[in-house]
Symmetry: C2
Subunit: 204 residues, 2 copies
């Protein structure tokens, strides 16, 4: 007897917070749909069009902006990233909760146009831990790591604008916490006005 | 690594919604403390002072009001009912989530003075079901049942002011849903500002 409309669940967090792995853990559950972003950056090795991203030219991307086909978009390191509107809306109508893994700037834009979206910020247990994780990857130059850490600190300043904060002590626990948040959000009174109306209308 | 401060959890719902039974189910879990109300009404058979209520004279109650010792109080069927402040504050400091089972009027007063309180409204699956439950008790006159149903409808008008809505299909499920809500509330960013500050302060 819950409401059936899906919820937009936005997951953000600094690079190295583990948000990507948490999202992978979450979408094992069929009730979630993962929104696929559009980008103008080049595919990395192993990335597939329509799976990891929709890869578009700059011109195609700008056309999508002008046609209002994106919920949000942002420029980051000279590339565009955006979230296509049609897929998200289709999934919501089907009652799926849609996960958007996007950065802070985009997340706040979505919240502006869609106040019912739920913003969840993932943090590593500590910044020391974050640094260890970034260094541990072994794929990045020191200079890039420093840049990411600086950006992580800037992003932490935006946590207050998020609805929830999840500390990533372990992937499984963090994913479980997000499930809990989404379940609770489905019980929000303002997401169940139809149900309230129905209860009132039944009369005696 | 969660915050340790307790949350005030207010449970309301029409007579016959089953809220009393749900609360009994919930406090089996040690993490909750149940606030005991003060009242000027006479004890019913089996009710004990300090267990079901603190029973006070009208004069004693009015003294508590004047000394600011009540979080909220209301008059209902010519009797006073109120929530003592000291016990609730003590439990919150100890990190317990405190359950207040109070009616709508009092609940909204608490929310005013304490916006961090979580308001949960329990509804029966339908008003027909509610009527059946009230009649099924067999302890009330038809006149009183009609009065309660009328009041139930009035209370439903206030659901929008509540944070969450839980349909009492089964006691166990409803209690489980409230646990979920409270867990999610502990993850709210604005309840974890200390943690955010701590993460920022750690530096690199």
């Amino acid at each position: 007897m819950n409401n059936n409309k899906g919820i937009v669940v936005i997951i953000s967090g600094p690079s190295g917070s583990g948000k990507g792995t948490i999202v992978k853990e979450m979408i094992k559950d069929d009730k979630y749909a993962l929104s696929i972003s559009v980008t103008t950056r080049s595919p990395r090795v192993g990335e597939e069009d329509g799976v990891h991203y929709f890869f578009k030219s700059k011109q195609e991307f700008e056309e999508m902006i002008h046609k209002g086909e994106l919920i949000e978009w942002a420029e980051f390191c000279e590339n565009y990233y955006g979230t296509p509107k049609s897929y998200v809306e289709k999934m919501l109508r089907e009652g799926k909760d849609v996960i958007l893994e996007i950065e802070v700037q985009g997340a706040l834009k979505v919240k502006e146009s869609n106040p019912e979206a739920v913003l969840i910020f993932i943090v590593p247990p500590s910044l020391t831990e974050l640094k260890n994780r970034l260094v541990g990857r072994g794929t990045e130059k020191e200079e890039i790591i420093e840049k990411r850490l600086k950006r992580a600190l800037e992003e932490l300043d935006m946590i207050e604008k998020y609805d929830y904060l999840v500390v990533n002590d372990s992937i499984k626990d963090a994913a479980e916490k997000i499930h809990t948040i989404v379940e609770a959000e489905h019980l929000k009174a303002n997401r169940n006005l139809d149900l309230i109306e129905k209860i009132k209308m039944e009369g005696f």
